[in-house]
């Protein structure tokens, strides 16, 4: 076996490999691009193969065979140009010239089998010009393509240049009648180079493909790593879509989510439940990929899915690739990438779409887990608040209950010991007043329930002097440790629900006293603020108590919520007082807020419209 024979076999192998791959692809997916690629490499493999067979037999090629081989060779640059025209605009004039050149070339091959120098020069020039032009267009297209396609375009350009060089070497050798080893070696090496470059371009081995996909995948991963932690599901999907579109250099990508309960694929949008477009499995290209559980693509979506042709045209999508998003055997949705023109190397792109869909599955799954964890925390918090509330409610109810039971038993013991002694009226009065306190607690529980549905404040409004009302309430809450003082400039008339307004002021005073364990004056201030529609009545209740930490300020008016610095051991409470205050203020069309400093005290502010809440007509008119 000579070195020459080894070289010849080596030269043949890449072309046979490419031939097998592209013919299989053309049969599998008979698109025009695939057919042209198959034609080009069939011609090339045949030309190289025939040469190899006769070299192996150490026989001269018969004239006819030689002519056929040369015809195949002359056809190559024309076929390549047709392939280039699939993804780049080739001038018509050039295409026509190439056609004429092909006819002339074939004529020369058959009419001048000895290939006189002029004929050889024509064929070589024809070959070289078209190969270089095609190579240049491959390079140009590579610039606008992402990742794998770019590398494959570059490899195709290199293959075309080297094939041109091979013909150039062959032409020179024929012209100068060179039979030397060096010329043969040069010819073989350029052909081998061309074969390997074309192999990388048109039939890249999986390892090479993965390596070329790496940068896109990496960039995508970098974009989506933080996604599970940001915002709402729509934001996450937008992030994934932008990442996928950018990985392809495509105009847009979209993700549809699977709702197993309704059996519908949907995208976030402006519709009810925050949904936009919806599709059943099998509908749209996306729905087909989802239903079939494998990535699919179409070069012309409008033609393949005529039912939704207008939708595809509306956002300029011609080629569509879709891949199902699956995590742990569970279908989550489908990822689609839309492009204005067909992908040159569809199978790679389809591969990448599936890779990105798999990554999207990881992102969505991570997000779901995070959401579940947050839900769990919220449920635990709600349970804790309810438990705290129940134990506080129990405490508040047990104290008056103890008095009622005890005083009644004392009356009983006394009556048994001396039936003739008159009943102790003071004890009866206390039992009655503690029963009232119990009733107030039950009312408060019921009020909290009513406040929830907006029925706390009745429709009825009467003109009340709030200053007078505040003095009356304050009078009931004078304690040696907590003097209650009202400051008001004259009358503060307002149309309110008198009983609820009194309850609001009472709750705020009680609250101030409760959270001033070391004593301190409770100051109730009232004033009127002029404004449209009669203006606003203002009430503030100030204490010098323990205050409220800044982080708890937004929550103090929530139901069951109590500030973090409230030591459960010192202050029993249901956390309903301020919630009821807020309900009363809001249902009067007003509002309540608080200013506070830990250790210095709190000031609660209430503002209610003096003419009662605006009716809907007033609000809009």
């Amino acid at each position: 076996v000579t070195i020459e024979q080894v070289l010849q076999l080596l030269t043949l192998l890449p072309f046979v490999a490419i031939f097998l791959v592209v013919v299989r692809e053309a049969v599998w997916r008979p698109y025009r691009t695939h057919v042209l690629i198959a034609l080009f490499f069939s011609a090339l493999a045949l030309a190289v193969g025939i040469g190899w067979v006769f070299a192996l037999l150490e026989a001269e090629q018969p004239r006819v065979v030689q002519a056929v081989t040369r015809t195949l060779a002359v056809a190559l640059p024309y076929l390549l140009l047709r392939l280039v025209a699939e993804f780049a605009a080739v001038p018509r004039l050039l295409m026509a010239a190439a056609g004429i050149g092909l006819v002339v070339g074939v004529g020369i091959v058959f009419l001048f089998p000895d290939l006189p120098p002029l004929a050889t020069a024509f064929i070589v020039a024809y070959f070289a010009v078209l190969q270089l032009y095609s190579a240049a267009r491959f390079v140009g297209a590579a610039r606008s393509e992402p990742g794998v396609t770019r590398r494959r375009m570059q490899a195709a350009a290199a293959g075309s240049v080297l094939l041109g060089a091979t013909i150039l070497v062959a032409g020179v050798r024929i012209t100068i009648h060179d039979d030397g080893m060096l010329g043969e070696l040069l010819l073989r090496l350029t052909l081998l180079g061309s074969g390997l470059a074309y192999l990388a371009g048109f039939a890249p081995p999986p390892l090479l493909r993965r390596a070329w996909q790496q940068p896109e995948l990496q960039a995508f991963l970098q974009r989506v790593t933080r996604l599970p932690w940001v915002g709402d599901i729509a934001t996450v999907l937008r992030g994934l879509e932008a990442g996928a579109a950018s990985a392809f250099g495509a105009d847009r990508a979209s993700i549809m989510l699977w709702d197993p309960e309704t059996g519908i694929l949907w995208v976030p949008g402006d519709g009810p439940d925050g949904r936009g477009t919806e599709a059943r499995p099998g509908q749209y290209i996306a729905g087909r990929a989802f239903a079939e559980g494998r990535p699919i693509f179409t070069l012309n979506a409008a033609a393949d899915d005529p039912e939704h042709a207008d939708v595809y045209r509306a956002f300029g999508a011609r080629a569509v690739m879709s891949a199902p998003i699956v995590a742990g055997g569970e279908r989550l949705g489908v990822l689609s990438v839309y492009g204005p023109r067909p992908p040159v190397f569809a199978e790679d792109d389809l591969d990448l779409v599936q890779l990105l869909a798999d990554q999207a599955a990881v992102t969505l799954e991570a997000r779901r887990l995070l959401e579940e964890a947050a839900d769990l925390r919220a449920r635990e918090e709600a349970t804790r608040l309810r438990d705290d509330f129940l134990s506080a409610a129990a405490h508040d109810i047990k104290t008056p209950l103890t008095s009622i039971m005890g005083f009644a038993q004392i009356l009983e013991i006394k009556a048994e010991a001396d039936p003739d002694e008159p009943v102790n009226v003071d004890l009866l009065r206390r039992i009655s007043s503690e029963a009232q306190r119990l009733r107030q607690l039950v009312d408060r529980l019921l009020d909290a329930g009513r406040g929830e549905v907006g029925g706390l404040v009745g429709k009825h409004r009467e003109d009340v002097d709030l200053a007078d009302l505040a003095r009356e309430v304050c009078g009931r809450y004078r304690r040696p440790l907590h003097p209650c003082v009202v400051q008001a400039d004259g009358r503060i008339p307002a149309a309110v629900d008198r009983i609820r307004m009194a309850q609001l002021i009472e709750n705020l005073i009680q609250n101030g006293q409760k959270y001033s364990p070391d004593g301190g004056e409770i100051t109730v201030r009232l004033w009127s603020e002029p404004g449209a529609d009669g203006g606003v009545a203002r009430i503030s209740v100030e204490d010098r108590g323990i205050g409220i930490p800044a982080q708890d300020l937004p929550h103090v008016f929530d139901r069951f919520r109590r500030a973090g610095n409230i030591d459960d051991r010192r202050f029993a409470g249901m956390g309903l007082g301020l919630y009821i205050c807020r309900m009363i203020a809001e249902q009067h069309g007003g509002r309540i807020w608080v200013e506070s400093q830990v250790g210095a005290g709190s000031t609660f502010h209430v503002a209610v419209p003096r003419n009662g809440p605006m009716t809907e007509e007033e609000a809009t008119g």
């Binding site: 405490h395 104290t399 103890t402 008095s403 005890g406 364990p517």
Partner: protein
């Protein structure tokens, strides 16, 4: 005015029972219950008042509410310990569901969970005094 003692044990106790509660009704109720049984009592509205009372004279037993303004039950118990009289029998009275734990925390002899009835109160006082007094 007060009926004959129901329980003669009370008359043998010289030192008064100190009742501490910020709720006026509970305070009066406990004092009344003890007095119709024949115990002598003193009362205080918070931990600070209670410590003042203890300084005036050592009580035979303290009935102690835990959640109070100014000085709470824990503060009062610390006050007793600081004065070297932590051995005075204490019975905790509270409406909190943690009554038992709180009683253990301050080393009380017993606890009464509100709502308690008069008989429960008197039984507990009697039992603790017997255990401590021998």
């Amino acid at each position: 005015m007060i009926a004959a003692p129901v329980n003669q044990l009370g008359s043998r106790i010289k030192a008064p029972i100190l009742v501490v509660d910020d709720d006026e009704n509970i305070l009066d109720l406990v004092v009344m219950s003890l007095e119709i049984t024949g115990y002598s009592t003193e009362s205080a509205r918070d931990g600070a008042e209670a410590l003042e009372a203890v300084e005036r004279g050592r009580p035979g037993l303290v009935l102690l509410d835990m959640r109070m303004p100014r000085l709470d039950g824990w503060g009062f118990a610390r006050g007793l310990a600081e004065r070297g009289i932590g051995d005075i029998p204490v019975v905790v009275m509270t409406a909190a569901h943690d009554a038992r734990r709180w009683a253990e925390e301050i080393g009380a002899d017993a606890y009464l969970e509100k709502p308690f009835d008069v008989h429960q109160l008197l039984d507990t006082v009697k039992r603790v005094l017997e255990e401590r007094g021998g």
